[in-house]
Structure formats: structure tokens, C-alpha cells
């Protein structure tokens, strides 16, 4: 394109974009960009975590009661699934560094599968909420156990509102992550990555780990508020 390449530019290095001086600059820029983006993501989820914090302090009773109705075994299984997916992501970056294409593709496909399993389980859980009338709105009804302190319906709705907002936003990030990994897998299948150039795998991995970590916080905050036997 350019009739006047910058002196340092290696014109035909595969994967090097025209405006970078060299591969190192390009790699540094990409990974800095992703780290900064993850910083914005922390602020994004931070808004909801703040709301959670405030209301949990004010309405602990309702939050504890709401939390006890969540399906703990399924939530725990889902946590395990996500941790496994993080492992496959980490291994796929290693495979890319070593240039093992088939291993890389296999691990990426596994990651996508784990992600889809997580989403499927999440959908099942949400469906449970519909049948239990735990979805905020006109049909909301929280049936409390007789041994509990009286639960205020409005405040219980706030718990479930936050539950849906937080897990929903997390699921949206998972869907985007699965999409990104679809593209990465396709690129890996086409042999686009080499031991020298696999930045996309790395930064997609960073994103995936971040989404994973968000869940690692969400799980105890939503499912494990007060699981002690009470009475």
C-alpha cells in the first residue's frame, strides 16, 4: 500500500499491520489494549457490585433467604466447568507457543464446549426461576419457609433483580467469549498462528480468564450468602 515504508518496517512479516514499526510493538500494543479494556470491564461490573453491596447490607435477611433458594449443586458444577475452561484456554496458549496446531484447535474447541455447557446450565437455572415465580415483575412471589424471619416481597425482588442483572451480564460476556473463540478456532484451523505470532490467542485468553474470574466472585456472592442451617 504505502510507497514509503518506515525504515524499520519488515514489509512482509505475516500478521504485522502497516502502522506498527515491528512485531514487538504490535504485540505490546495489543496486550496493553486488552488489559485496559479489562479495566473498563471491572468498572462495568463494579456498578452492579456496588449496588449489591449496598442492598446486601440493608436487606441482609431477604438476600440470605433469596440466596438459599438458588440451586447450589448446579451452581457449583457450573463453577467447576468454568474453571476447566480456563485450564483449556491456558493450555491452548501454550500449544500456540509450541506451534502444535491440532492440539491448539482441540483445546479451543473444548473451551467452546465448556462455555456452551455453562450457558446451557445457566439457562436451565433461569428456567427454574420462572417456574418458582422468582422472576421480578407482577408474577413475583417469594414463598418463604416458616422458620425464616418474615421476608419482604419488594426486597426479595431486589435480590433477584440483581441476580438476573449480574448473571445476565456475565452470560452475555460468555456468549461474546464463545463467539470470539469461534473466530480464533477458525483462524487456528486455517493455520494463521505460529510460535512467533499468536497474539490473538493470548488476548482472547485474557478476556476469557476475566469473564471466568467475574463468575468466581459471583458464585459466592449470590449462592453462598448464608447457608447455615437456621431455625
Amino acid at each position: 500500500m504505502s510507497d514509503s515504508p518506515a525504515p524499520l518496517a519488515l514489509e512482509h512479516t505475516p500478521g504485522l499491520q502497516h502502522h506498527f514499526a515491528d512485531m514487538e510493538q504490535q504485540r505490546n500494543a495489543s496486550s496493553l489494549g486488552m488489559w485496559i479494556f479489562l479495566g473498563t470491564e471491572i468498572m462495568f461490573f463494579g456498578g452492579m457490585f456496588l449496588a449489591y453491596l449496598v442492598y446486601r447490607m440493608w436487606y441482609f435477611n431477604e438476600f440470605a433467604a433469596g440466596s438459599r433458594t438458588l440451586n447450589l449443586p448446579i451452581g457449583a458444577v457450573n463453577t467447576a466447568v468454568l474453571i476447566c475452561s480456563s485450564l483449556t484456554v491456558a493450555l491452548s496458549v501454550r500449544a500456540a507457543q509450541l506451534g502444535k496446531r491440532m492440539l491448539l484447535v482441540t483445546l479451543l474447541v473444548l473451551t467452546i464446549l465448556f462455555g456452551l455447557v455453562f450457558l446451557g446450565v445457566k439457562a436451565y437455572e433461569w428456567n427454574e426461576k420462572f417456574t418458582e415465580h422468582h422472576v421480578p415483575g407482577y408474577s413475583f412471589h417469594f414463598k418463604q419457609e416458616s422458620t425464616e424471619k418474615p421476608v419482604d416481597q419488594g426486597r426479595a425482588q431486589i435480590f433477584f433483580s440483581l441476580y438476573f442483572a449480574m448473571t445476565g451480564m456475565h452470560a452475555l460476556h460468555m456468549i461474546i467469549g464463545v463467539g470470539i473463540f469461534g473466530v480464533i478456532t477458525w483462524m487456528a484451523w486455517r493455520g494463521r498462528f505460529t510460535p512467533e505470532y499468536h497474539t490473538p490467542v493470548e488476548i482472547a485468553g485474557l478476556y476469557w480468564h476475566f469473564v471466568d474470574i467475574v463468575w468466581i466472585y459471583l458464585f459466592p456472592l449470590l449462592y453462598l450468602i448464608d447457608r447455615r442451617p437456621h431455625g
Binding site: Y59, N61, K149, P150, D152, G154, R155
Partner: protein
């Protein structure tokens, strides 16, 4: 006051003077600073305007100057801060024994009720020289109670009470505005505050057809809703004794101690189990959605009226005349 071109708002409350004093100080300070900077710019720009044969002198800067023009403004700012904070403290600390007005705002009107029971809409009558405290809530969206002549403003928020106070100093009729945007007729949610001489006010108060004081209304609500079956005026009730509750500390079941203010009473009626008093069971029904904001304010006024002196030695829930006598205006 309805001139065509006023440049200064009427001063009609005790706080208005102190707000104006700081405002005038700031106007003078700002005028001085702006003029100083404009003059400097003008002088520099003209004195050093571009001319053939003269080149700019390169100056890197001066730490002494930099620190001077950081620290001196900061010191001035701190003076303004302390001055402004003192006024704010005054505005936010209602004197003891103030007359109380309950305000319920809704789209797009102000509903006000005096302790003595008089109800008003978009109009508030108050005597000169008496401290008046408003306890306000909203039925729908956020509004803001604003009387420019008193220099007071307070947002009125659904689901809780906010308060403001003033003491009028000059008889007259003043604007009451809603200052927080609240929908279609936001600019129509206006009214007036009529400040009267105490004697006139007394005449106005007795002239109106009040249906009993707020506390008395609250008492009949209290009986009607059956609150008295548990909240008895001895130690035998299944609910806490409410005499002397207001303004005192309450020990909660979870170990915390909180002050029983209007918001606490409000919450405990609407959501009794939220802040359960230590030693009682969560058996009180929820009144959220069952009482209107007006009924709620009457109940709150009643609970507040239950002081040990008022309820008598035997602890029976009888009431003394709740209308406090208006004080003589000072000065």
C-alpha cells in the same frame, strides 16, 4: 415583589441573610479575579503584540509563581469552604421545639398538613418568627421543595422522609417551587408561602375547618388498624411500648442500636421485621401498600406525640392538646 425586573431575591428568613453575605463576598471575589485576569491578558496582549523586529523572550516558568498561585487560591477556597459549610450546618440543623409541617408531594401538587390538623394544597401559611420544620415525602417521583425567599431547598424523595427548616422574618407572599424535574407539569407544581403576623396566623388557624390534630387523627388510625392490641401502654404487649420511643435509642435484635427518628418509625410500620426491636418476635403484619402517605404521616405524628408526660402517669394513651402555642416572635 412582582416587579418586572428584580435583581435580588427577597430576604425573608433567618438563613437568607447569611447565604446572601457569602454570596456577596463571592461575587466581589469573582469580579476581582476575573477583572484582574482580563486586565492582565489585555495588557500582555497589547504590550507584547507582534511587531517586526521584536522576538518573544523564552521563559520556562517559575516554581515560586506556580506554588504561589496554587497555594493562595487553595487558602481562599478553604475560607469559602468553611464559611459555606457553617451556613449549611445551620440549614441542616433544625432548632428544638420547631413547629412541624408534614408535606406529601405528588405529580404535580404539594399537600401540606399542620400539626394542628389544617390541610393545605400548594399553599403554606406560617407565622413570622417561629421555627418551622418540614417532614417531607413523595408519593411518586422525586420533587424538591424550594422557597427562594428563604434560600432553602430540599429534595423530596419517595420511600423516605427528608426534612428542612426555616424561620420566616418578614410577612408577605413568597414563591414555592418544585426544583427537581418531575414530569409534564413540573413548572406548574408551584405554590406560595404566606408569612403572617402571629395574631393573624392564629386567626387563620382557628378559622379553618380542621378535623382534629394530626396526632389525634393518627390515634384513631392507630385504634382502627388495631395497633393497640399489641403496642400496649404497659409492659405486657406483644409489641414494644411506644411511649417515649421517638428521639431515643432502640436496641435491635441483631445487636445494633439506632436512633428512632421519623424514618425509623416509617420503616417499622411498612416493613416491621426490617429493624426488629430486641426481645420481640417478627409477628407484626406488613403495612406496605395498605396505608397512604397521608395516613402514614398521621401515624408518625401520633407515635411522636407519645411522650411520657403526654401519656400521663397511668400510661393510658390520652393526648394533651397537641397544638403547640406559637412563640412570640423574637425582637
Amino acid at each position: 415583589m412582582f416587579d418586572n425586573f428584580p435583581l435580588w431575591p427577597v430576604r425573608a428568613s433567618t438563613t437568607a441573610g447569611s447565604v446572601d453575605a457569602l454570596y456577596i463576598f463571592l461575587v466581589l471575589l469573582s469580579a476581582f479575579m476575573s477583572v484582574a485576569i482580563f486586565i492582565m491578558i489585555t495588557i500582555f496582549a497589547l504590550r507584547y503584540r507582534r511587531r517586526a523586529g521584536r522576538e518573544a523572550e523564552q521563559i520556562d516558568g517559575s516554581n515560586v509563581l506556580e506554588f504561589t498561585w496554587s497555594i493562595v487560591p487553595l487558602a481562599i477556597f478553604m475560607v469559602i469552604f468553611v464559611w459555606g459549610a457553617r451556613i449549611f450546618f445551620l440549614e441542616r440543623t433544625p432548632p428544638r421545639g420547631a413547629a412541624e409541617i408534614y408535606v406529601v408531594a405528588k405529580q404535580w401538587m404539594w399537600k401540606l398538613q399542620h400539626e394542628e390538623g389544617q390541610r393545605e394544597i400548594n399553599e403554606l401559611h406560617v407565622p413570622v418568627g417561629r421555627d418551622v420544620r418540614m417532614i417531607m415525602t413523595s408519593q411518586d417521583v422525586i420533587h424538591s421543595f424550594y422557597v427562594p425567599a428563604f434560600r432553602i431547598k430540599q429534595d423530596v424523595i419517595p420511600g423516605r422522609y427528608t426534612t428542612a427548616w426555616f424561620r420566616a422574618t418578614r410577612p408577605g407572599t413568597y414563591h414555592l417551587f418544585c426544583a427537581e424535574y418531575c414530569g409534564t407539569q413540573h413548572s406548574g407544581m408551584i405554590g406560595q408561602v404566606v408569612v403572617m403576623e402571629p395574631a393573624q396566623y392564629q386567626a387563620w388557624l382557628t378559622g379553618g375547618a380542621a378535623s382534629g390534630s394530626m396526632a389525634a387523627n393518627g390515634q384513631s388510625m392507630f385504634l382502627q388498624l388495631g395497633c393497640n392490641t399489641c403496642h400496649r401502654f404497659d409492659t405486657q404487649g406483644r409489641g414494644p411500648d411506644l411511649v417515649g420511643l421517638f428521639g431515643n435509642k432502640v436496641q435491635l435484635e441483631d445487636g445494633r442500636t439506632i436512633a428512632a427518628d421519623e424514618n425509623y418509625i416509617r420503616e417499622s410500620i411498612l416493613n416491621p421485621s426490617a429493624k426488629l426491636v430486641s426481645g420481640f418476635k417478627p409477628i407484626m403484619p406488613v403495612f406496605q401498600g395498605l396505608v397512604s402517605e397521608e395516613q402514614l404521616t398521621a401515624l408518625v405524628a401520633y407515635v411522636k406525640s407519645l411522650t411520657p408526660q403526654a401519656s400521663g402517669a397511668a400510661g393510658s394513651p390520652s393526648l394533651i392538646s397537641p397544638g403547640k402555642q406559637p412563640q412570640e416572635p423574637k425582637e
